[in-house]
Protein backbone atom coordinates (compact mmCIF):
# COMPACT_ATOMS: atom_id res chain seq x y z
CA UNK A 1 0.00 0.00 0.00
CA UNK A 2 1.30 3.43 -0.92
CA UNK A 3 0.58 4.93 2.48
CA UNK A 4 2.51 2.23 4.33
CA UNK A 5 5.52 2.59 2.07
CA UNK A 6 5.46 6.35 2.57
CA UNK A 7 5.29 5.91 6.30
CA UNK A 8 8.23 3.57 6.22
CA UNK A 9 10.50 5.96 4.39
CA UNK A 10 9.24 8.98 6.24
CA UNK A 11 10.07 7.39 9.55
CA UNK A 12 13.75 7.54 8.71
CA UNK A 13 15.55 10.56 10.10
CA UNK A 14 16.63 12.80 7.25
CA UNK A 15 20.20 13.15 6.03
CA UNK A 16 22.56 14.01 7.59
CA UNK A 17 21.27 14.52 11.11
CA UNK A 18 20.88 10.98 12.35
CA UNK A 19 21.00 7.32 11.54
CA UNK A 20 20.05 6.95 7.90
CA UNK A 21 21.68 3.70 7.03
CA UNK A 22 18.37 2.06 6.55
CA UNK A 23 18.33 0.32 3.18
CA UNK A 24 16.74 -3.13 3.54
CA UNK A 25 19.19 -4.40 0.96
CA UNK A 26 22.22 -3.26 2.92
CA UNK A 27 20.72 -4.44 6.17
CA UNK A 28 20.29 -7.86 4.70
CA UNK A 29 23.87 -7.87 3.55
CA UNK A 30 25.60 -6.48 6.60
CA UNK A 31 23.28 -6.46 9.60
CA UNK A 32 25.32 -3.61 11.04
CA UNK A 33 24.58 -0.45 12.95
CA UNK A 34 25.87 2.88 11.72
CA UNK A 35 25.81 6.25 13.32
CA UNK A 36 26.72 9.81 12.41
CA UNK A 37 29.76 11.18 14.22
CA UNK A 38 31.38 14.52 13.40
CA UNK A 39 29.64 14.58 10.05
CA UNK A 40 30.76 11.10 9.03
CA UNK A 41 29.03 7.78 9.02
CA UNK A 42 30.67 5.45 11.50
CA UNK A 43 30.23 1.73 11.66
CA UNK A 44 29.56 0.81 15.28
CA UNK A 45 30.52 -2.85 15.05
CA UNK A 46 32.57 -4.99 12.71
CA UNK A 47 31.06 -6.46 9.58
CA UNK A 48 29.35 -9.78 9.73
CA UNK A 49 28.67 -12.35 7.04
CA UNK A 50 32.25 -12.00 5.82
CA UNK A 51 31.52 -8.95 3.60
CA UNK A 52 34.74 -7.12 2.69
CA UNK A 53 34.88 -3.53 4.03
CA UNK A 54 35.30 -2.02 0.53
CA UNK A 55 32.20 -3.79 -0.75
CA UNK A 56 30.27 -2.61 2.28
CA UNK A 57 31.42 0.94 1.64
CA UNK A 58 30.34 0.77 -2.02
CA UNK A 59 26.96 -0.57 -1.01
CA UNK A 60 26.65 2.20 1.54
CA UNK A 61 27.45 4.88 -1.04
CA UNK A 62 24.99 3.42 -3.53
CA UNK A 63 22.38 3.25 -0.81
CA UNK A 64 22.87 6.87 0.20
CA UNK A 65 22.81 8.01 -3.45
CA UNK A 66 19.61 6.17 -4.25
CA UNK A 67 18.11 7.35 -0.97
CA UNK A 68 18.82 10.97 -1.90
CA UNK A 69 17.47 10.45 -5.41
CA UNK A 70 14.15 9.03 -4.31
CA UNK A 71 13.66 11.88 -1.80
CA UNK A 72 13.19 14.73 -4.25
CA UNK A 73 10.16 16.72 -5.30
CA UNK A 74 10.55 18.83 -8.45
CA UNK A 75 6.93 19.92 -8.64
CA UNK A 76 6.05 23.61 -8.91
CA UNK A 77 3.01 25.35 -7.52
CA UNK A 78 1.62 25.64 -11.01
CA UNK A 79 1.65 21.84 -11.27
CA UNK A 80 -0.67 21.32 -8.31
CA UNK A 81 -4.25 20.40 -9.21
CA UNK A 82 -7.28 21.67 -7.33
CA UNK A 83 -7.92 19.52 -4.30
CA UNK A 84 -11.15 19.01 -2.33
CA UNK A 85 -9.09 19.09 0.87
CA UNK A 86 -8.11 22.70 0.11
CA UNK A 87 -11.76 23.71 -0.16
CA UNK A 88 -11.38 25.92 -3.22
CA UNK A 89 -8.25 27.75 -2.04
CA UNK A 90 -5.06 27.71 -4.07
CA UNK A 91 -1.73 29.49 -3.70
CA UNK A 92 -1.44 32.32 -6.20
CA UNK A 93 -5.11 33.26 -6.06
CA UNK A 94 -5.89 36.95 -5.60
CA UNK A 95 -7.62 38.55 -2.63
CA UNK A 96 -10.68 39.01 -4.85
CA UNK A 97 -10.74 35.31 -5.72
CA UNK A 98 -10.41 34.39 -2.05
CA UNK A 99 -13.23 36.75 -1.20
CA UNK A 100 -15.43 35.23 -3.85
CA UNK A 101 -14.74 31.85 -2.20
CA UNK A 102 -15.63 33.17 1.28
CA UNK A 103 -17.45 36.52 0.97
CA UNK A 104 -17.20 37.11 4.73
CA UNK A 105 -13.40 37.36 4.55
CA UNK A 106 -11.97 40.52 6.05
CA UNK A 107 -8.39 41.35 5.22
CA UNK A 108 -5.95 42.88 7.67
CA UNK A 109 -3.97 45.93 6.70
CA UNK A 110 -1.14 45.48 4.24
CA UNK A 111 2.15 45.92 6.10
CA UNK A 112 5.24 47.71 4.84
CA UNK A 113 6.47 44.51 3.18
CA UNK A 114 3.28 44.00 1.17
CA UNK A 115 1.91 41.25 3.42
CA UNK A 116 -1.67 40.98 4.59
CA UNK A 117 -3.25 38.18 6.58
CA UNK A 118 -6.65 36.89 7.37
CA UNK A 119 -8.20 33.79 8.86
CA UNK A 120 -11.46 31.88 8.90
CA UNK A 121 -12.86 30.05 11.93
CA UNK A 122 -16.02 28.24 10.81
CA UNK A 123 -16.79 26.95 14.34
CA UNK A 124 -16.48 30.37 15.93
CA UNK A 125 -17.84 32.65 13.23
CA UNK A 126 -21.58 32.20 12.64
CA UNK A 127 -21.35 34.11 9.35
CA UNK A 128 -19.27 31.34 7.78
CA UNK A 129 -20.97 28.48 5.99
CA UNK A 130 -19.66 25.55 8.05
CA UNK A 131 -20.97 22.98 5.60
CA UNK A 132 -18.64 24.29 2.89
CA UNK A 133 -15.62 23.86 5.21
CA UNK A 134 -16.46 20.53 6.78
CA UNK A 135 -13.78 19.31 9.20
CA UNK A 136 -11.94 22.64 9.21
CA UNK A 137 -11.38 24.57 12.43
CA UNK A 138 -9.20 27.35 11.02
CA UNK A 139 -7.87 28.52 7.67
CA UNK A 140 -5.11 31.11 7.75
CA UNK A 141 -4.36 32.98 4.56
CA UNK A 142 -1.27 35.12 3.96
CA UNK A 143 -1.10 37.36 0.91
CA UNK A 144 1.90 39.08 -0.61
CA UNK A 145 1.15 41.91 -3.03
CA UNK A 146 -2.42 40.71 -3.25
CA UNK A 147 -1.70 37.05 -4.01
CA UNK A 148 -2.09 34.07 -1.68
CA UNK A 149 1.33 32.81 -0.62
CA UNK A 150 0.62 30.75 2.49
CA UNK A 151 -2.33 28.51 3.15
CA UNK A 152 -2.56 26.98 6.61
CA UNK A 153 -5.37 24.61 7.57
CA UNK A 154 -6.19 23.52 11.08
CA UNK A 155 -8.49 20.54 10.57
CA UNK A 156 -10.51 19.29 13.52
CA UNK A 157 -10.74 15.77 14.93
CA UNK A 158 -13.62 14.89 12.57
CA UNK A 159 -11.47 15.33 9.47
CA UNK A 160 -11.19 12.17 7.40
CA UNK A 161 -7.40 11.85 7.87
CA UNK A 162 -6.69 11.88 11.59
CA UNK A 163 -3.00 10.96 11.65
CA UNK A 164 0.06 12.37 9.94
CA UNK A 165 0.69 9.19 7.88
CA UNK A 166 -2.94 9.10 6.77
CA UNK A 167 -2.86 12.79 5.88
CA UNK A 168 0.40 12.47 3.97
CA UNK A 169 -0.92 9.48 2.07
CA UNK A 170 -4.25 11.14 1.27
CA UNK A 171 -2.96 14.58 0.32
CA UNK A 172 -0.23 13.00 -1.81
CA UNK A 173 -2.84 11.20 -3.86
CA UNK A 174 -5.08 14.25 -4.03
CA UNK A 175 -2.33 16.66 -5.12
CA UNK A 176 -0.30 14.07 -7.09
CA UNK A 177 2.73 14.54 -4.86
CA UNK A 178 5.82 12.34 -5.01
CA UNK A 179 6.92 10.10 -2.17
CA UNK A 180 9.51 12.57 -0.88
CA UNK A 181 8.20 13.53 2.55
CA UNK A 182 10.69 13.81 5.37
CA UNK A 183 10.31 13.81 9.14
CA UNK A 184 9.76 17.29 10.53
CA UNK A 185 9.79 18.37 14.15
CA UNK A 186 8.11 15.85 16.47
CA UNK A 187 6.10 13.33 14.47
CA UNK A 188 5.51 15.83 11.67
CA UNK A 189 6.25 15.48 7.95
CA UNK A 190 7.57 17.97 5.44
CA UNK A 191 7.72 18.03 1.66
CA UNK A 192 10.05 20.48 -0.07
CA UNK A 193 9.46 20.94 -3.79
CA UNK A 194 10.79 23.30 -6.47
CA UNK A 195 9.02 26.43 -5.30
CA UNK A 196 6.84 25.40 -2.40
CA UNK A 197 6.94 23.56 0.88
CA UNK A 198 4.31 21.60 2.80
CA UNK A 199 4.22 20.57 6.45
CA UNK A 200 1.86 18.40 8.45
CA UNK A 201 1.68 17.94 12.21
CA UNK A 202 -1.13 17.07 14.57
CA UNK A 203 -2.57 19.88 16.69
CA UNK A 204 -5.44 19.19 19.09
CA UNK A 205 -6.26 15.83 17.53
CA UNK A 206 -6.50 17.19 14.00
CA UNK A 207 -3.96 17.70 11.21
CA UNK A 208 -2.32 21.10 10.86
CA UNK A 209 -1.35 21.46 7.20
CA UNK A 210 0.55 24.34 5.66
CA UNK A 211 1.58 25.13 2.08
CA UNK A 212 4.10 27.92 1.62
CA UNK A 213 5.20 29.68 -1.53
CA UNK A 214 8.98 29.65 -1.09
CA UNK A 215 9.64 32.38 -3.66
CA UNK A 216 7.29 34.67 -1.78
CA UNK A 217 9.05 33.81 1.47
CA UNK A 218 12.30 34.84 -0.20
CA UNK A 219 10.77 38.10 -1.39
CA UNK A 220 9.52 38.94 2.10
CA UNK A 221 12.88 38.07 3.64
CA UNK A 222 14.68 40.26 1.09
CA UNK A 223 12.33 43.18 1.73
CA UNK A 224 12.77 42.76 5.48
CA UNK A 225 16.55 42.66 5.13
CA UNK A 226 16.51 45.77 2.93
CA UNK A 227 14.40 47.61 5.49
CA UNK A 228 16.72 46.58 8.32
CA UNK A 229 19.70 47.72 6.29
CA UNK A 230 17.99 51.02 5.62
CA UNK A 231 17.24 51.46 9.31
CA UNK A 232 20.79 50.58 10.27
CA UNK A 233 22.17 53.06 7.76
CA UNK A 234 19.85 55.74 9.10
CA UNK A 235 20.93 54.98 12.66
CA UNK A 236 24.57 55.03 11.67
CA UNK A 237 24.14 58.32 9.85
CA UNK A 238 22.34 59.75 12.85
CA UNK A 239 25.14 58.64 15.13
CA UNK A 240 27.87 60.14 12.97
CA UNK A 241 27.83 63.61 14.43
CA UNK A 242 28.44 64.29 18.08
CA UNK A 243 29.19 67.64 19.68
CA UNK A 244 30.52 69.08 22.89
CA UNK A 245 28.22 71.58 24.58
CA UNK A 246 31.15 73.13 26.46
CA UNK A 247 33.43 73.80 23.49
CA UNK A 248 30.57 74.21 20.96
CA UNK A 249 32.51 71.98 18.56
CA UNK A 250 31.16 69.02 16.64
CA UNK A 251 32.95 65.90 15.43
CA UNK A 252 32.37 63.52 12.52
CA UNK A 253 32.58 59.77 12.66
CA UNK A 254 36.25 58.81 12.35
CA UNK A 255 37.64 61.96 13.94
CA UNK A 256 36.50 61.72 17.50
CA UNK A 257 37.93 64.06 20.12
CA UNK A 258 41.17 63.11 21.87
CA UNK A 259 39.37 63.11 25.18
CA UNK A 260 35.96 61.53 25.46
CA UNK A 261 33.15 64.07 25.85
CA UNK A 262 31.41 63.80 29.18
CA UNK A 263 27.94 62.32 28.94
CA UNK A 264 26.35 65.51 30.27
CA UNK A 265 28.13 67.62 27.64
CA UNK A 266 27.50 65.29 24.72
CA UNK A 267 24.89 66.12 22.09
CA UNK A 268 24.12 64.30 18.80
CA UNK A 269 22.99 65.71 15.47
CA UNK A 270 21.61 64.08 12.35
CA UNK A 271 23.63 66.23 9.98
CA UNK A 272 26.39 68.81 9.78
CA UNK A 273 23.81 71.41 8.80
CA UNK A 274 21.80 70.67 11.90
CA UNK A 275 24.88 71.04 14.12
CA UNK A 276 25.91 74.29 12.50
CA UNK A 277 22.42 75.67 12.69
CA UNK A 278 22.59 75.04 16.42
CA UNK A 279 25.76 77.12 16.63
CA UNK A 280 28.38 74.38 16.60
CA UNK A 281 31.58 74.47 14.55
CA UNK A 282 33.39 71.56 12.97
CA UNK A 283 36.42 70.46 15.02
CA UNK A 284 39.75 71.39 13.44
CA UNK A 285 40.83 67.76 13.60
CA UNK A 286 37.98 66.90 11.24
CA UNK A 287 38.71 69.58 8.65
Amino acid sequence: MTGDRRLGTADRPSLPSAIVFDSPFVHAMTNEKWKMTNGKFVLQSSLSHGLPPLAALLILLCSITSFAQEKKCTLKLADLPASPELFGFQLGMTTEQAKSRVPQLKFGRVDSFGVSKTSINPDFDPRIDKASLNGVRTVSLDFLDGRLTSLWFGYDSTFKWATVPDFVSGISQSLHLPDAWRPWKIRGQQLSCADFEMTVIIVAEGPSFRINDQAAEGTIAARRAAKEEQNSAAEAAAAEIIADKQTRVYYLDGCLPAQEIKEADRVAFNSKGEAEKAGYKLAKSCQ
Binding site: K117, S119, F124, T138, W152
Partner: protein
Protein backbone atom coordinates in the same frame (compact mmCIF):
# COMPACT_ATOMS: atom_id res chain seq x y z
CA UNK B 1 -1.33 23.15 47.86
CA UNK B 2 -1.30 25.12 44.64
CA UNK B 3 -4.58 26.64 43.51
CA UNK B 4 -6.47 24.72 40.84
CA UNK B 5 -7.35 26.43 37.57
CA UNK B 6 -11.09 26.24 37.79
CA UNK B 7 -13.51 27.19 35.03
CA UNK B 8 -14.74 30.58 36.12
CA UNK B 9 -15.58 34.03 34.92
CA UNK B 10 -13.23 35.58 37.43
CA UNK B 11 -9.96 36.70 35.85
CA UNK B 12 -7.02 34.78 37.21
CA UNK B 13 -4.52 36.98 35.42
CA UNK B 14 -3.41 37.91 31.94
CA UNK B 15 -1.64 35.51 29.61
CA UNK B 16 0.03 36.63 26.42
CA UNK B 17 -0.20 33.90 23.78
CA UNK B 18 2.38 34.23 21.02
CA UNK B 19 2.06 31.96 17.99
CA UNK B 20 2.08 32.57 14.25
CA UNK B 21 -0.75 30.12 13.55
CA UNK B 22 -4.20 31.56 14.23
CA UNK B 23 -5.50 28.08 14.92
CA UNK B 24 -3.11 27.51 17.82
CA UNK B 25 -3.90 30.92 19.26
CA UNK B 26 -7.59 30.21 18.90
CA UNK B 27 -7.31 26.89 20.74
CA UNK B 28 -5.19 28.32 23.53
CA UNK B 29 -7.35 31.41 23.86
CA UNK B 30 -10.53 29.33 24.12
CA UNK B 31 -9.01 27.02 26.70
CA UNK B 32 -7.37 29.76 28.77
CA UNK B 33 -10.48 31.93 28.80
CA UNK B 34 -12.46 28.94 29.97
CA UNK B 35 -9.94 28.61 32.78
CA UNK B 36 -10.57 32.20 33.80
CA UNK B 37 -7.63 34.03 32.24
CA UNK B 38 -7.65 37.20 30.23
CA UNK B 39 -5.83 36.51 26.97
CA UNK B 40 -3.75 38.83 24.83
CA UNK B 41 -2.41 37.56 21.50
CA UNK B 42 0.54 38.25 19.24
CA UNK B 43 1.50 36.55 15.99
CA UNK B 44 5.24 37.11 15.99
CA UNK B 45 8.10 38.14 18.23
CA UNK B 46 7.98 41.83 17.42
CA UNK B 47 4.30 42.05 18.20
CA UNK B 48 4.87 40.00 21.34
CA UNK B 49 7.30 42.61 22.65
CA UNK B 50 4.83 45.40 21.99
CA UNK B 51 1.98 43.40 23.55
CA UNK B 52 4.08 42.54 26.60
CA UNK B 53 4.96 46.20 27.12
CA UNK B 54 1.38 47.33 26.87
CA UNK B 55 -0.39 44.51 28.73
CA UNK B 56 2.20 43.47 31.35
CA UNK B 57 1.02 39.86 31.36
CA UNK B 58 1.35 37.45 34.27
CA UNK B 59 2.65 34.78 31.90
CA UNK B 60 3.77 34.56 28.29
CA UNK B 61 3.24 31.38 26.28
CA UNK B 62 5.80 31.79 23.53
CA UNK B 63 6.02 29.77 20.34
CA UNK B 64 9.66 29.26 19.45
CA UNK B 65 9.54 29.27 15.65
CA UNK B 66 7.92 32.33 14.10
CA UNK B 67 8.57 34.70 11.20
CA UNK B 68 10.13 38.16 11.62
CA UNK B 69 11.40 37.63 15.15
CA UNK B 70 11.40 34.16 16.66
CA UNK B 71 10.34 33.30 20.18
CA UNK B 72 13.82 33.05 21.65
CA UNK B 73 14.96 36.39 20.24
CA UNK B 74 11.74 37.98 21.48
CA UNK B 75 12.33 36.48 24.92
CA UNK B 76 15.82 37.97 25.08
CA UNK B 77 14.43 41.41 24.20
CA UNK B 78 11.56 41.13 26.67
CA UNK B 79 14.03 40.29 29.42
CA UNK B 80 15.75 43.63 28.78
CA UNK B 81 12.54 45.61 29.21
CA UNK B 82 11.82 47.41 32.43
CA UNK B 83 9.18 45.59 34.44
CA UNK B 84 9.29 42.47 32.28
CA UNK B 85 12.58 40.97 33.34
CA UNK B 86 10.83 38.55 35.67
CA UNK B 87 7.64 37.77 33.77
CA UNK B 88 7.37 33.96 33.43
CA UNK B 89 7.83 32.79 29.86
CA UNK B 90 6.82 29.30 28.77
CA UNK B 91 8.40 28.32 25.48
CA UNK B 92 6.33 26.00 23.28
CA UNK B 93 7.59 24.22 20.23
CA UNK B 94 7.01 21.18 18.08
CA UNK B 95 10.71 20.42 18.44
CA UNK B 96 11.72 17.92 21.08
CA UNK B 97 12.89 19.05 24.49
CA UNK B 98 16.26 17.41 23.86
CA UNK B 99 16.89 19.79 20.99
CA UNK B 100 15.41 23.02 22.27
CA UNK B 101 14.94 23.08 26.02
CA UNK B 102 18.46 24.28 26.80
CA UNK B 103 18.29 26.97 24.10
CA UNK B 104 14.96 28.17 25.45
CA UNK B 105 16.18 28.35 29.03
CA UNK B 106 19.39 30.07 27.95
CA UNK B 107 17.34 32.70 26.12
CA UNK B 108 15.49 33.50 29.31
CA UNK B 109 12.46 31.22 29.19
CA UNK B 110 11.41 29.67 32.49
CA UNK B 111 10.05 26.42 31.11
CA UNK B 112 9.80 24.50 27.87
CA UNK B 113 6.88 22.47 26.56
CA UNK B 114 6.98 20.28 23.47
CA UNK B 115 3.88 19.95 21.33
CA UNK B 116 1.68 18.05 21.12
CA UNK B 117 0.96 18.37 24.82
CA UNK B 118 -1.90 17.41 27.08
CA UNK B 119 -3.93 20.27 28.59
CA UNK B 120 -3.13 18.84 32.03
CA UNK B 121 0.56 19.38 31.40
CA UNK B 122 -0.02 22.98 30.35
CA UNK B 123 -2.22 23.53 33.38
CA UNK B 124 0.46 22.14 35.68
CA UNK B 125 3.06 24.49 34.21
CA UNK B 126 0.78 27.51 34.42
CA UNK B 127 0.13 26.75 38.07
CA UNK B 128 3.84 26.47 38.72
CA UNK B 129 4.74 29.64 36.85
CA UNK B 130 1.97 31.96 38.06
CA UNK B 131 2.29 32.14 41.78
Amino acid sequence: MAAQLNDSNQSRGTILVVDDFDDTRLLLRTWLQKKGFRVVEAENGNRAIAAAESSHPDLIIMDVEMPELDGLAATRKIRELKGLAAVPILAVSAYGADQYRDHALAAGCNEYLSTPFEPDELERLIRALIK
